[in-house]
Amino acid sequence: MSAATSVACERVRERLARLHDGDLASLEEARDRGHLEACGACQAEEREHLRLLALLPRALTSGVEAEAARLAAELRRSLARAPSPRARRLPAPLVAAAVAAGLLLGLRLWLAPTGAGLPARPTPIELEPLLEHLPSWADVRAGLGQLSRWVS
């Protein structure tokens, strides 16, 4: 084994964990993989590394499976009496309030004091008159208050 190869082997073996963790830059990864393809000794190191990665989950959980299964069975019995989980939904009063607020706003715009209604064709928007026709926050709050009393 040449000195250059030995240095390369050392580098590749040192970085095997990073290589398989996806932590190397693409150039470094390509360089290490290129070396691995050509070096039988480093391939053996890589096999050992992969074997360790495969063993670890078993080593981490072995010895607790039986207890976990027993606890899971207890939980299943407890949960049998509980209502099933449900997807999260917005509370009905909130949805009703949002819809009603939209309707109130639309109505307020439609029945603007000018009495002109909507033009048949779009015209360039002038913001100032439009802002005058918007309902005040006090009106919106009052509407929401009425609605929430109505919902409850």
Binding site: L56, L60, S62, G63, L71, A72, P85
Partner: protein, 177 residues
Amino acid sequence: MHDSELVARALAGEREAFHALLERHSAALLATLLATLGNREDAREVFQDTWLRAHQHLGRLREPARVRAWLVTIALNLARARRRRHAAQELDPEAAGAPVEVGQDLERDEELVALRRHMSALPARQRQVLDLRVNHELGHAEIAAQLGITEEASRASFYQGLKRLREALARRARSPR
């Protein structure tokens, strides 16, 4: 069946789907709690609380495919709360992670026993990171958030832990039985 499908079915009212999640993730979760709390009784209680909360709040899970990471987050939060209550101290990486008792099924496999023994000799932080990365497949950003460390520290602990285990197993392979 993929986790996300089981979550969807559980939320549609299929009890068996939630039970399947329970079966699938229980052992890994219990192992993590045992390693984190170092006390079997506490680990059992937090394990049960974790699943009860998961059942209650499953509808809040934003990424159903990542239900395992969500469960680990609940479990570790509950474990921290329990440790604070019991010891009035933060989760101390050196105090946490007492070696888990070895079960009978593990005794049958010598190499797993050896690996387990070498793992229990690792610093607690390395053991926690190895567990979260390998057992629960969390990314280093998630591990960093869970353990209150940097991503770099998570990577360093992971690589260092793996290196020490490989060296220990290699020594074992070379030594006469």
